[in-house]
C-alpha cells in the first residue's frame, strides 16, 4: 500500500508541483561555481582531521575541533556561533601510548588500538595468550584459574577474510526505490541492550580472574584496517576494569591459529590512556545565517552532522565529511552573499556515536521530548532538518523518510543538479543518525542518499577513517547540492510539508545506554 502511494506520487504529481517550486537559477549557478571552482572543502577537511585529530566525544580532539569550528563560522560572519552544552555526557578519554607485540614464538609487532574508555595496562606487561570461547560467565568459569596472568582473546566465528572490498557507486536505476537502511527496530534494540548488559557483567567477572587484558575483534576489517569502537565507560558506573584492545583480523587469527596448534604465544602490551573529568558536559556547535524576512526570520532551516568520531582514525568519513559539506555549504552561501528569508542554522553534534546524544538533547531542549510528545512551540518554527552522515560519497538523492508530500519539492530542487548525479527521491527511511530525534518530534528531517564508496567496507569506525579516504570531488558536489537545499528551504514561501501526526512508537534509535 505504501509502495503504491509512492508510485502514484512519483508518476502523477511531479509535473504539476514542479511548476509551483520557484528555483532561482542564477543563485543555483553561483552555488555551483563557488562549490566546484572555489571549494574550501579540502582545507576544512584537513583542519578537522589532520589538525584536530581524533574527535572522540569530550576528548581534547573533540574540543579542539569544536572550538575551531566556532571560530571558523564566526570568521565567515555567521551569527551566534558558539558551543552549546547539551547536558552531562561524562568523562573524556584519549590514548597516550599504544604498544602491542607478539614476543614468542617470534617477535612481531601488532597493529592494535585500545577500545575507547577502556583501561590501560599497568605499564609494559607480558603474558601468554588464551582463547575464550564466548563472553559469558560460563565460558569464563570453564577456564577458571587458567586465566590468571593471561591475555585473553575473545573467540571470533569469522575464520577467514571477507573478499576485498571495492569502491561502490549506486546505478541511477535504484535511486528512486531504495529500501529502508540503518533502521533499528525496537525489538532488536531491546535485545541489543540485554546482550550488552550480560556482556558487561561477564567482563566484570573476567576481571576477578586476574587477567592482564582482553583482545577482541570489533568488526570485519582486513589488510591492516580494523574497526575500533568503545565502551560506555564515559558514564559513571559503567567503567570496565579489564584493559581491552583490538588488533587487525590478520594478527588476531594468526594468534588464534597458533594457540589452536598448541604453540604458546607470549604477548607484550603497553597501553596508557588518559581520562578527563574537568568538564563532564557535552557540547554541540551552533551557528546561524540570520534570516532577513521579518515574517519568516524566526523560522529555521537546520543543517547538521555529527562532529564527534571514533578515535583510531581522524573521523574523516564518519563524520568529518558531513561536517565539511555542511560547513562548506554555509561558506558558499555567505560567499555568494545570499539574503535568506528564513534563518539557516548549522548544528555540529557531539555524542552521536554513543547514542545521538547531542542532537537528541538539542531536540528535547528546544522542540520537545519524543518520549512523551510534549512539544514546545519552537517545534512549529523548524521548516526542515537536513543531515549528512554516510561518508564522503556525493549526493545521489534524498530519503523522504516517508514524508510523501516533500517528494515533489525535492524533485524540483534536485533538477538543477541532475547532471552531477543527484536525481533520486526515495520514500524509504534511513536511520542510525541525528535526523531521527527531529523526525521523532514531527519535524521534517532528512538524510541524503550518498554513494557508499568504501564507507561501510573500509572506513566506518576504523583506523583508516583518515583524510586520504575522502573523495574531495564527491564532497564538492555534495556541498553544492546542500547549499542549494538550504537556500531553497530558506526562501520557499511555505515551510516544508509535514508528515501526518508522528507518534512516539516510531522513536527508535540506537541509544546504546540511556545516561
Amino acid at each position: 500500500m505504501r509502495k503504491h502511494l509512492s508510485l502514484l506520487a512519483g508518476i502523477l504529481l511531479p509535473a504539476a508541483l514542479l511548476a509551483q517550486e520557484k528555483i532561482n537559477m542564477e543563485v543555483m549557478q553561483q552555488i555551483r561555481t563557488e562549490a566546484l571552482e572555489h571549494s574550501g572543502a579540502a582545507e576544512l577537511a584537513h583542519q578537522l582531521t589532520d589538525i584536530a585529530g581524533p574527535r572522540l566525544t569530550n576528548s581534547p580532539g573533540y574540543m579542539r575541533a569544536a572550538k575551531w569550528a566556532v571560530q571558523t563560522l564566526r570568521q565567515w560572519g555567521l551569527n551566534k556561533a558558539a558551543l552549546e552544552p547539551w547536558g552531562v555526557f561524562g568523562k573524556g578519554w584519549s590514548t597516550e601510548h599504544v604498544y602491542a607485540a607478539i614476543k614468542k614464538p617470534y617477535y612481531q609487532p601488532l597493529i592494535a588500538f585500545p577500545l575507547a574508555w577502556s583501561q590501560g595496562t599497568k605499564g609494559l606487561v607480558t603474558g601468554n595468550a588464551i582463547l575464550l570461547d564466548s563472553m559469558t560467565i560460563t565460558a569464563i568459569d570453564r577456564l577458571g584459574s587458567n586465566l590468571r596472568g593471561k591475555i585473553v582473546l575473545l573467540h571470533t566465528r569469522d575464520s577467514l577474510l571477507k573478499p576485498a572490498p571495492a569502491i561502490y557507486r549506486y546505478p541511477d536505476s535504484v535511486l528512486n526505490s531504495l529500501p529502508d537502511k540503518y533502521m533499528v527496530r525496537r525489538e532488536s534494540l531491546t535485545r541489543h541492550l540485554e546482550t550488552a548488559k550480560l556482556t558487561a557483567a561477564a567482563k566484570k567477572h573476567l576481571a576477578t580472574k586476574g587477567v592482564i587484558a582482553l583482545i577482541s575483534l570489533q568488526g570485519n576489517g582486513r589488510d591492516g584496517t580494523m574497526e575500533v569502537n568503545g565502551h560506555n565507560g564515559y558514564a559513571k558506573g559503567f567503567e570496565l576494569p579489564v584493559p581491552e584492545l583490538t588488533v587487525t583480523k590478520e594478527d588476531f587469527l594468526r594468534i588464534s591459529r597458533l594457540l589452536r596448534s598448541s604453540v604458546p604465544v607470549n604477548l607484550e602490551l603497553d597501553i596508557q590512556n588518559k581520562w578527563y573529568t574537568d568538564d563532564l558536559n557535552g557540547y554541540n556547535v551552533i551557528g546561524d545565517i540570520t534570516g532577513t524576512d521579518p515574517a519568516l526570520k524566526d523560522e529555521v532551516v537546520i543543517a547538521g552532522g555529527h562532529l564527534d568520531s571514533w578515535h583510531s582514525g581522524t573521523g574523516a568519513t564518519d563524520n568529518g565529511a558531513g561536517c565539511v559539506i555542511m560547513m562548506e555549504a554555509l561558506r558558499i552561501l555567505k560567499a555568494i552573499g545570499v539574503q535568506p528569508r528564513r534563518t539557516i542554522r548549522i548544528a555540529l553534534w557531539g555524542g552521536e556515536e554513543q547514542g545521538l546524544y547531542g542532537s537528541f538533547n538539542y531536540v528535547k531542549k528546544h522542540y520537545g521530548n519524543p518520549a512523551d510528545m510534549q512539544l514546545l512551540p519552537a517545534q512549529q518554527q523548524v521548516s526542515a532538518y537536513f543531515n549528512l552522515d554516510n561518508g564522503s560519497g556525493k549526493i545521489r538523492g534524498i530519503y523522504l523518510q516517508q514524508n510523501d508530500a516533500a517528494g515533489p519539492v525535492f524533485r524540483s530542487w534536485l533538477a538543477p543538479f541532475a547532471d552531477l548525479g543527484a536525481t533520486g527521491v526515495t520514500r524509504s527511511n534511513t536511520g542510525s543518525t541525528d535526523h531521527l530525534p527531529f523526525d521523532a518530534v514531527g519535524i521534517p528531517a532528512f538524510q541524503f542518499i550518498q554513494d557508499p564508496l568504501e564507507y561501510e567496507t573500509r572506513t566506518h569506525h576504523t583506523n583508516m577513517d583518515t583524510y586520504e579516504h575522502l573523495s574531495m570531488d564527491d564532497i564538492k558536489q555534495a556541498s553544492a547540492v546542500m547549499a542549494a537545499f538550504l537556500y531553497n528551504a530558506a526562501m520557499r514561501d511555505e515551510k516544508l510539508p509535514r508528515k501526518p501526526q508522528p507518534h512516539a512508537e516510531q522513536f527508535v534509535f540506537d541509544l546504546n545506554y540511556p545516561l
Copy 2:
C-alpha cells in the same frame, strides 16, 4: 616473426604432438584426488607462515622454516633431504621491538616497520619530523643544521591513494598470448645499481647531520598495508648508519600535510633490531624422490621456489605459496606411490629477495656459470626446472620462456586440467625469480601463469603477506597441476626439448648488489 612462429605452433602442431605425449590418466586422476580431497596444503602453509614466522634470509625464522622443511621432506620419505649451503650471504637480522607514534600535536600510534638490515634507535627517542625533498646530497645540504635531532621523512611524489585494489583473475582469452612480465633489461639494471649507489652515499651523508631516523615509503600500500623492503646491510661494507623505517601511506601523508601546514609534528620511536653473525653462509633446502629407471635416474626434474621472505609479514604469498605448492606436489607423488623414472628434486631457495642468490649459486656450482657459459656435465642431466613465485593464485598455464618446442608438450600435460582453469601456453618470458639462472645456462626453465589475485596490489613484500591472504582452493589446484608436471617430466622418454644455444647476454636478473 616470433609471434608468427608461435601462432603456427599453436594452430598446426598440437593435434600431432599431443598424440606423442603419453599421459597416464590413472595417475592424473590419483593426483587430482589426493590434491583436491586430501590436501595437506593448509597445514604446510600454517607451519611455514604462522609457526616459522617471517623468513628473512639468514634470520632465525628462515632457519626454523628450512629445518622444518628438511624434516618434513624426510618424514615423507624423500632422499638426501638436507640444508645445502650455497656460499657466504652475510649477517642475519630480525627486529625485536617496534614502536612508533605521533606525540604532538596529539597522540597517534603509527603502523611502522624497520627496513631489513637497518639500524635500531638508541632506545626510545623523540624528535620533530622534517621533510627531505629527495635522497640526494644537495637536498640534504639544503636543510643543513636543521636536520640535527630530527626524524626525516623522505618526500614522496604520491600524494593520493591509488584506487582500492580488487582481486584479479585472468580471463581465458589472454592465457595464450600474455606479454613478457617482470623481465629486467640490462640497461635498467645498470641504472638501478647506479641510483642505489648514489642513494647509499646520500644516506651516509645524512648520518653525519645528526638525524635520529629516516622514514620512507617503500611502495604503494593503502588501508594499513605497507610495503617493507630492506637494505643490503647483510653484506660487509654495506651497513647504513641511520635507523630507517616505513609507515603506512595514510600515516606518512598525514605527517607530511601537517608539516606543510607548519604544524610541528613530534614523533617518538623505539626500534630494536638484532644481528646474527654466527653463521654467514646461506642455505637452500634440497630433497629427492630418487628415480627408478637405471638409464634415467641420474637425470633430474627440479621443482623450486624461494623459501626466504621479507620480514613484516610471514611471506605467505611471497613465496610461502610457491614452497607449499611444490612441497605438496611431492607429498602427493609420495602419497600415491609413484615410481618416477627420473629423479624428482625439490629445491627451496634462500636469498632470492636479495638477488636470486640461492638458485644462482646452486646453478653455478652444479651446472655452470652463466657469466662465462662454462658449463658442467650435470647441466645435460636436468630435464627441466619448474618454478613458482607469483602468489597463491591457481595455475592458469605456463610461460614458455621462448622455448617453442616445449609448447606442444605442455599443452598435452595441461589438457587433463583444463576443467580446473589451467589451459594457457604463452611464448613470453617472465622474470624476477629463480628460474632465470637455470634458463641462463640453457636448462629448460619455466614459471607458471598464476591468477594474480591480490599479489601485486596487496601482499607482495607487505605486512599483509600473511596466511589469511592465501587462497587455499587455488593452492590445491596448483598442487595438482605441479604434481602432474613433475610426474610427466620424470616419466617422459625424452628430456624436455631445449632452446637453441643460450647466450650470456640474456642473463639479466635483479641482483641488487653483487656479493
